[in-house]
Amino acid sequence: METDTIVLASAERLFADVADIQSILAAKDDSWKPRLWGGIEETGLNIAGVPEALGGVGLGLADCLAILKVAGASAVAVPLAETMMAGWMLGAAGLELPAGQVAFGPSAFGDRIKLGDDGLLSGRIERLSFARECGCVALLAEGASGLQVALVDLALADIQAHENLAYEPADTVVFSTVRSMAHAVAPVGFALQTTLLIGAAARAMQTAGALEKLLAVTAEYVTQRRAFERPITKFQAVQHSLAQLAGEVAVSLSAAASAAEALESLTAQGRGFADPELCLEIMSAKIRTAGAAQKGAAIAHQLHGAIGVTREHILHRLTLRVLAWRDDYGNESQWSEYLGDIVCSGGEEALWPLLAIR
């Protein structure tokens, strides 16, 4: 078996064993969290994207994203995506990923981090997922002579706790002149929006995975549930709602997979993060999966009836997460504006050639 298949299979096993959604809901406390993270480090998922030379598994971005699809389906509530992306970015800059949970920023459009020649770093990051549970954060910072990848101790930050829609940390983090643990010149091709783009591709994939699970859970429920003396699948209204959910799931899976493939193959060709083709792929995936999250969550809840809004039911672990992820690493309005800008500055004649390039 190839390394990527082995890692993916162990991820699937791990999430099924330790992060089963129903068991987590029934848990009395958060003791499953360290158990899950222990399993993640044991199987090497955290270092999946770290080059082998730096002690990692050395998977490409597309393979890392495939793992995140599985994590999305399990609604995994630990910073696996963040740590994985941090490991990839640090590794690309020749830096080591420390043990433990690592946050990944900038995570919002307004974030700006400055890194001086003296190694001192300042700035503010909003909606930094899991910040208060992480030891440090991998950042893309603006240095005097260009972009720098930096690793910073979160104990030095002023962290204002915020909660996202899914009751998870989405904190505001402020650094006022702190020393980075390590930093290095960002790889060629990196742009100011690089962490937002990688984060967007990750959230698109997690959303696609979670929506696929949502479809399976909902299809199973409507097959078993009876009303008016028959299974509710006999009602055309129910069939058509589920068909619409399947459509949203399909377009999400397709868009997220397309973006992942583009991210890996285009960067391998040496294309930078400002490349219009790369931007189109990732932005489209983030925008479209966010739309699918909204429509898909609504349909899944409607088909479940009242049971689906209860705390005990697994539905909200999936629906609240896909809805919350819309706001991470650029929301769909921000990315639409960005993409619209690319399209308009290219003009009408350039639109179709851009779309047809793949």
Binding site: E212, T233, S284, I287, S336, A356, R358
Partner: protein
């Protein structure tokens, strides 16, 4: 139950993209030569006829078909990009479009040898226009309620009854029609229908034109009065037409025409918006572009499944359901996005023409070739719900 959907992120191979460049060059020179106007809602039929010959000369009709019938056995992805470029350029492709997409493949699979060797080369030469005789006054989505009769007679069949909403019937050379040859059985209401190849010049056929609200006037009611067909024009199994449809439907439903029919509205929007519109307009454009890109990637992925010999029935139905609803909404969303634009822009005349035209024909996009309701039934069946 099948809820696991997979869409491989297919990247069109280099040679396919080379072909795209060739098609683009061809179209650009035809536009430059004044053969057709890419912004015009209507093009004369004579232009369609002449254009079909030119496309045929390039070898772009029936390009996936067997060499023995004049085809080139090229990949389905080749056909896909030719189709895309023709659509985007609003090329006058109506003479051969239906035959190339579905009638030809149906003949290849089910027609007699005589028909194949006689008719397929004519399609490939751009000389045979096809129409599809499915709907009837009292049977639309419910195909199996068809009543138009074919009864056995000496050496052949005699057709009586009528078909309706038959696109281009009045200028077609052939129809592939679905006719009742027996009554349905108690066990199988789909039994008793047979496909035939009909020569549209045969005595006893009358085409009555039906005009549409869009100004497109290609609909017909086709009346059959004792029309005689030879035995070897039966396509496939007598009484068993219901077994013959599956794969063709996947080709028909997943192509670029299922989300690009109103693309001109988006192109015109980008034109009137100019290089740096206000943020609101940028957001609207960005979202539409994100949508169409996602639809296209899904459609290309299904094209890859078909090329690989799979039968992605539910996946193709999803492409058509999402795609046609999107292309139907597109001109409405374009209208909303431009609500505050000054109307004196020079490009505005073309913009308004495109917007009005697409809005006028958009309602039929979610009806033709399988309604939204039928498609959702197909998807639900794919999910194991029915």
């Amino acid at each position: 139950m099948q809820t696991a959907l997979e869409f491989q992120p297919l990247r069109l191979p280099e040679p396919v993209q080379h072909l795209r460049a060739e098609v683009r060059d061809f179209l650009q020179s035809e536009i430059a030569a004044g053969t057709f106007d890419p912004d015009a809602p209507f093009t004369d039929w004579a232009v369609h006829k002449a254009f079909a010959k030119k496309v045929a000369a390039r070898g772009w009709i029936g390009m996936t078909w067997p060499r023995s019938y004049g085809g080139q056995e090229r990949s389905f992805l080749d056909r896909y990009v030719v189709n895309e470029e023709m659509l985007i350029a609003n090329a006058p492709n109506e003479v051969y479009f239906t035959a190339d997409r579905q009638s030809g493949p149906t003949l290849i699979k089910f027609a007699s040898e005589r028909i194949k060797s006689e008719v397929l080369p004519k399609i490939i030469a751009g000389e045979a226009c096809f129409c599809i005789g499915m709907s009837e006054p009292n049977s639309g989505s419910d195909l199996f309620a068809a009543k138009c009769r074919a009864s056995q007679t000496d050496g052949g069949w005699k057709i009586n009854g009528s078909k309706i909403w038959t696109t281009n019937a009045h200028r077609s050379d052939y129809m592939i029609g679905l006719f009742r040859t027996s009554a349905p059985t108690a066990e199988n209401r789909r039994h008793g229908l047979t496909s035939f190849l009909v020569d549209m010049k045969a005595p006893g056929i009358t085409c009555n034109r039906i005009d549409q609200m869009s100004g497109i006037n290609d609909f017909n009611e086709v009346v059959f009065d004792d029309v005689l067909l030879p035995d070897d024009q039966v396509i496939g199994e007598v009484d068993g037409a219901w077994k013959q449809a599956t794969t063709e439907l996947a080709y028909e439903r997943s192509g670029p025409e299922r989300f690009l029919e109103t693309f001109i509205a988006l192109r015109q929007l980008v034109k009137v918006a100019g290089p740096s519109p206000d943020p609101q307009l940028k957001r609207a454009i960005g979202r539409l572009v994100a949508d169409v890109h996602a639809l296209r990637r899904m459609s290309v992925s299904v094209a890859g499944m078909l090329e690989a010999g799979r039968e992605p029935v539910a996946e193709a139905a999803i492409v058509k359901d999402l795609g046609t609803i999107w292309e139907q909404e597109l001109p409405q969303r374009v209208r909303e996005a431009t609500a505050f634009l000054p109307r004196d822009a020079e490009a505005y005349a073309d913009f308004e023409t495109a917007l009005h035209f697409t809005m006028r024909f958009a309602p039929k996009l979610t009806i033709q070739g399988g309604t939204t309701e039928i498609l959702r039934g197909v998807i639900a069946r794919g999910l194991g719900l029915r």
